[in-house]
Amino acid sequence: MTVQDVMQVILFFALLIGLTPILGKYMGNVFTGEKHFMQPVFGWSERWAYRFTGVNPEEETNWKAYTFGLLMFNLVGFVFVFIIQLVQAYLPLNPAHLPNVTWHSAFNTSVSFVTNTNWQGYAGETTLSYFVQMLGLTVQNFVSAATGIAVLLAVIRGISRKTTDKLGNFWTDLTRSTLYVLLPLSILFAIILVGQGVVQNFKTCETVQTLQGAQQIIPMGPAASQIAIKQLGTNGGGFFNANSSHPFENPTPFSNFLEMLFILLIPAALTYTYGKMVGSTRQGWTIFSVMMILLITGLSISLYAEYSSNPIFGHLPLMEGKETRFGITNSVLWSTSTTAASNGSVNAMHDSLSPLAGMVAVINIMLGEVIFGGVGAGLYGMVIFIILTVFIAGLMVGRTPEYLGKKIEAFEVQMAIIAILAPSFVILIFTAWASVSSAGLSSLNNPGAHGFSEILYAYSSAAGNNGSAFAGLNANTLFYNLTLGFGMLIGRFGVIVPVLAIAGNMARKKVTPLSAGTFRTDNWLFMGLLIAVILIVGGLTFFPALSLGPIVEHLLMGSGITF
């Protein structure tokens, strides 16, 4: 690594830390209904939305109605995205005359975008029309992120309110996060991206004669508008197959820097919003620090792995699957950030990362996408781990565990365990199934332990709603489209429903006043405990699987053995 590499990394984290309280404070104002500067700009559309839908923004519901509204809304989104893919050939905005999508690929893609995963079994530029990309995918990029924020808001209200069954109004939470947070940031970001060279038009492909006389077809489309929200909403689904390594998605080092920053920005800022809304910004910074420590640890391991020499390639910089303009440091900073946040866009091919860097990527996902994680989703996932940590700490000192004045009892712990086990179940069981079935094995691109890593990564990515891939795996088959599709559904709603149940139950409780015996959740001791719980749960669950994939590959590569 050069001095300049280190400078980029420091600048990146400095900006992330600096922007966290600014955006976090603004979002706090938006979600608590206080005055903010975007109200005059988009307030009219919020009022219009309520009038059109007949929603009373003042009316709050209990957790069951909140959850039901959320599920219905997501169901409607799924059906719509599914159907428009099946009939895209008959719809407008299809200048390349792309045919209808197969039913299982359409199923997978619509689940993928509704669940904020953005796993892509298809290649964007040769599969989907502009109509589907805009009216189907771009819309889900916004609303799936807003759904994550809504769940988080319900959790915050569950913690901060007392003796009520009201958790808020799902429709207003959805509307406000989209109108005042996601949309304005996306418009600004999209235009900056076009300024760097990202395409934004409705033209058909351009067929050109290259300098050497060959024919090249240059793709076009409304890419910038989708890329802006794909990063901000931790979605990650590329407009083009090569995702953010494609020069039309990510043309310059500056666009790369901004896209990386915007992957982590909202999840990071939400920790501040959280602290503000539960009444102690210190609580928010504690969570932020835990996330940051885990992120930087992962980054250090990945950088070490990528810059080390090995017996196979010697000291040759490992540029396979990486772009010249980004180099190794930016590729690794991205791979760590995109998997820590459940974004899943890539600017380098994760399949070709060194085994340890690839392992960090998959561990980031396996830990439950809580290292910043998805918009909203990362933080409510972290609350699950906090509940578990407080519970374990309570067992150790023999006192009823509390978090922010709320007693943690059997129901909360049961729900927390379901939320942790649901994605783990998908990862391990489906990986095992694919590893022994011919339908699973026939899609591999690499032999040996690395092939196993491809399968393990795919199901982790689905269950964690990440969406990145060891992309050598040919996942556009009946087997993978269906198993990964169900994996994404379980990984999303198998967490959301228990989390909302916890929120509903906690809202009903009284607040226990602070006393000298209260176990503090905003100091170094708690941070240490929380990190330990996350790593131990993740380690115990996934270490055996990891040792069959990336760990054995790393050891063999170290002795110069290939497959």
């Binding site: 964007g124 395409v199 934004q200 050109v208 300098l211 090249q216 083009f240 540029m319 091919m349 590959e553």
Partner: protein, 190 residues
């Protein structure tokens, strides 16, 4: 039932707002402020479009600088990398092959260190850049193929220096040179 109706209506609202108005608004603004970039940074030569500044092209002729290896041979439909793991023998063989091929093609001796981007395929398969070092290694071969005298050869080296892009804003990204732009300049020398 009431919930379903609200869900449908609010979904319609967001589809119109974020699926139609938002992309159209961004397209409108982009087409006014950055028309060339929004339309693909296309390059014209003799009034014909010959490619995009951002999309790399395949060069295998002796009179041009060669681009990086590409898993999709610079065909953008669809883009992508090789997705080979580092322990895959196919990748190891490819790297050895490319190394020998690059040395033979450019008449280099076996002690030359070849920049690694010329041995490994890019992520997009459309990487428009190589390192300036990789360009300098090719000057001798191009000068010979084009029958350049010493002065012209120096001009080529000078072109490489002028076209080399430093890291953006002092510290972002890597030093690089755009192969298509370099080859266009090369043609202008004749």
């Amino acid at each position: 039932m009431k919930t379903l109706v609200i869900a449908l209506k609010i979904f319609l609202f967001f589809t119109v707002l974020t699926g139609i108005i938002y992309p159209l608004l961004v397209t409108g603004i982009a087409q006014v402020i950055f028309p060339a970039k929004a339309n693909g940074s296309l390059i014209r030569k003799d009034n014909k479009i010959i490619g995009s500044e951002l999309i790399g092209q395949q060069f295998d002729s002796t009179i041009y600088f060669t681009s990086r290896p590409s898993a999709v041979s610079y065909n953008p439909l669809p883009s992508g990398g090789s997705n080979y793991g580092l322990t895959n023998p196919k990748l190891i063989n490819l790297v050895t092959e490319r190394e020998q091929q690059f040395m033979a093609f450019n008449g280099l001796d076996s002690t030359t260190v070849i920049p690694s981007e010329m041995l490994f395929a890019s992520a997009s398969g459309l990487d428009p850049h190589i390192s300036p070092q990789a360009a300098l290694l090719q000057v001798e071969r191009i000068a010979k193929a084009r029958n350049f005298n010493n002065e012209q050869k120096l001009q080529v080296v000078h072109q490489i220096t002028t076209l080399t892009e430093a890291p953006q804003y002092i510290c972002l990204g890597e030093e690089r040179i755009n192969v298509l732009l370099l080859n266009l300049e090369l043609d202008r020398l004749e």
